[in-house]
Structures are given as structure tokens and as C-alpha cells.
Point group: C2
Chain length 239, copies 2
């Protein structure tokens, strides 16, 4: 429970750096502020050396859990009152983070799930644009299991294409081609019954916005931004 | 002396948050990176609660020195190998920061001075767009005192107008009107003999770029970005 007014936010970042920058920019943009002092105190550890989350879930690379736990501990020591991590797939290692600290960890997965249920209480099927690690760890599937909501995700060739798009976005390429391919993958989820699309990977909103898909888009970065500002400025967390 | 390869950068930020975001965005943009792991490890303390630097120099507000020293110490404890601060005026309190830590503090003032002397070795007069605190603490004047370079800064009504522009920029207003007024102030410095204009305040590049002034523009944020990447990726600091 976070009940301190103007709490300090610790950000497990660098996963990737572009998504962390996007998160930071949106926190500033969405904080009502006339002076510097009205803004949220964020301590951002933009650590690009964290081992690849998707490779770790696939069993083809080292686990990022020890480094994430160390970052969390250092953010707590530096004064953070709660933690956020603008990367969906890395939430496969959430237990290691939460276990390393005594402050709350606000999950982007659970907050996005809650936002979906608030905005679309009668939904039966949600499409989630997610990376392979997020899919294989079943992060969204498990979050929605008690809600009676079926989750559809990119499969087969679409799944491989999605991962290639992520690599391109991470290398700084945010061209129209990437957006169009992402739109095709989203359309595939809609064809399979998705009533809404969840941008369940923080690289997705770097190229895709709500005008680009034929169903409502719930952006996990935007959800985390809103909840971070709320909790930092005196709201209380269920985390 | 920084001689560790891939050093971690501690950023004293939030002074203001918009300038810190601009610094972060430019570090990412200017780092050659194909994957997340090629990026620089930055720990950014975006602390908007630091007391106003300009008021402190004027003697009308509390000193930010104790809080800056505390932030510096926490960044060192969190693993920073050297420190930077994307705010010129706050360098009036540089001694308190450097005195609190055993890692180097890379000064935006000294790095900008060095960049000016490298690019314009024969210069006799530089105009510096600087805030009242930066001017009254004579940060640029003292940095250039041994170089035979005269520093001209906004005075009288221009100085007051410049401070009003900063407040507007900090409140999120980056309109064309602000750019045009900033151009008029820069033109005043050129009329007084400035051969180049130094953006000696990290809010200035949020509204003004090199195409907006009639003399070469040296942007202190850009200089700090370049030197930060260089030092972080194995260069050595004179700090």
C-alpha cells in the first residue's frame, strides 16, 4: 500500500531504452504542472545491460532476474517508494523483483488488465500484441483467467514477424513500413475474434496508435503512466 | 579520471524535467546502437523538488546544495561512475556536489567552454543565453576568464524577459512566440558583439535551434550529450 503523498517512483528501465524514454515523456506530458516542483520525482535506472527477456523465457539466454532484483534493491535504497517497469515481457521475472524489496511493485500487466475490465466490462476476447517471452510466460492469459476473457496473441509467422519488428524498433527504425506490418498483425487478431487490441509490449506504441487499428486500442504504457502519476501524487496502490 | 569501459552515468535531473527528458532523448539518439545492449547505462534522478537555483543565487530562496549533494551521493551508491547535471545554473552549487562524492563530476560549463575553444579558437566575444542564477554566479564569465573571451549576457529588460520565457517553457509552453522572443534576445547579444551564441541554459534548446540565430549556436545540452556518451563508452574525463 502506497499512501505517502508525492511518493518517489523507481523505474526499472532500459528494457528497451526507447520504451523508457517514451514512458518518461508521457509521465511529464500527463502531469498537470506549472512549475518544476509540480512534477513527479522519478528515479530511472536506464540499464540496457539487462539480459534479453525473450531469450531467457525461451531458455536460450541467461535470466535477467538477478540483475532486475539488484536494480530494484538499488532503487529502493536510493529512495523509491514504489517500483514500475515499462516492459511487459520482463514481468515474467516479477517475483524476483518483488522478493528483493519491501516496497510495492506496480505491475503493468495487472494495471492493464484492470483498465481493460473497467473500460470494457463485458468483453469476451482481447487481442494482445505481445513479444514471445510475454506470450510463453502467459502473462496476459494468467492475468485474465478469472475474468472469463479469452486472450489471442500473434502465432506462427505473425509471431516471428512481430519479433523482427521489435528488433527494428529497438535499433531506432520507426518507419511507416513497421507500422503497416504491425497493423496487419493486429488485423489478424481481430479476425480471430479480438474485440479490443492491447499494446502489450512497450515498443508497440512507438509505432502504433489508436487511429491505426479497427478496434479500441489499450496501450499498456499509457495505463502505467496514468497509474504511476496517480500513485505518486497520493493515490493508493493495490500492489 | 574515468577509464572504465561502459561506465554508468549518474544524472542529477529534474532541473527542470523537460531539460532532463531532452538530455535523455539526445543521448539515445546519438548513441550508435543496434540492440538495447549497445546503449549507455544512465541512472537518472529526475527530482523536481530541488529548490529553485536562480532564487537561491539571488538570495531569495533556500539553497539547493544539500539536496544536490544528497542526490549525488545516492547516485554514487547506486553505481554511477561519474555524474552529469543537465542544468547550467545549478552548477553554481557544483562544489557541494563534487565534495559529496568520490566519483568525477563532469561540468556542463567547462565542457561547453572547451567545445567553444575547439570550434572557435580565435573568438573574442561570446553571447550566452543564461538564466539570472547562471549570470550572477558568473559561471561562464569565470570559465572563460583565462581564454581572453568576453562574455555578454542578457541584461535589463532582456534579462527579465528571458526569465519569464524560462517559466513558460517549464510550464510546457514551447510555442512560436517564445522562440521569436528568444531570437530577439539573441539578436541583442549579437548587436553587442557576440560572434557566437551559447545556449547556456538547458531550457533554451527546447525552443531554439541553430537555424534560429544569425551566428553559430553552441548548445550546452548537445555538448554534454556528446561528452557523456564519449566518457561512458571508454573516453577519459578531465573532470
Amino acid at each position: 500500500m502506497i499512501n505517502k503523498k508525492y511518493a518517489t517512483v523507481g523505474v526499472l528501465g532500459g528494457l528497451g531504452p526507447g520504451a523508457t524514454l517514451d514512458f518518461f515523456a508521457k509521465v511529464l506530458e500527463n502531469t498537470p504542472a506549472a512549475t518544476d516542483q509540480d512534477h513527479v520525482h522519478l528515479i530511472i535506472d536506464n540499464n540496457p545491460q539487462v539480459p534479453d527477456r525473450n531469450a531467457a523465457v525461451a531458455g536460450t539466454g541467461p535470466s535477467p532476474a538477478p540483475m532486475l532484483a539488484e536494480m530494484a534493491k538499488r532503487l529502493e535504497n536510493a529512495g523509491a517508494d514504489f517500483l514500475v517497469m515499462p516492459c511487459n515481457a520482463a514481468h515474467a521475472f516479477e517475483d524476483a523483483i518483488a522478493g528483493a524489496v519491501s516496497i510495492p511493485f506496480v505491475s503493468i500487466i495487472k494495471e492493464t488488465r484492470d483498465e481493460v475490465m473497467r473500460s470494457f466490462p463485458d468483453i469476451k476476447c482481447a487481442g494482445v500484441l505481445a513479444s514471445s517471452g510475454c506470450i510463453d510466460a502467459e502473462l496476459y492469459k494468467r492475468a485474465f483467467v478469472d475474468k472469463g476473457v479469452q486472450i489471442v496473441v500473434p502465432t506462427g509467422a505473425d509471431r516471428d514477424t512481430f519479433m523482427q519488428l521489435l528488433c527494428k524498433i529497438k535499433s531506432g527504425n520507426q518507419s511507416g513500413d513497421i507500422k503497416r506490418t504491425m497493423q496487419v498483425i493486429a488485423a489478424g487478431l481481430i479476425a480471430r475474434g479480438a474485440e479490443i487490441i492491447v499494446a502489450g509490449c512497450t515498443e508497440v506504441p512507438l509505432v502504433l496508435d489508436e487511429t491505426d487499428v479497427a478496434r479500441p486500442l489499450v496501450n499498456s504504457t499509457d495505463v502505467l503512466v496514468t497509474r504511476t502519476i496517480d500513485y505518486a501524487q497520493g493515490g493508493s496502490s493495490s500492489a
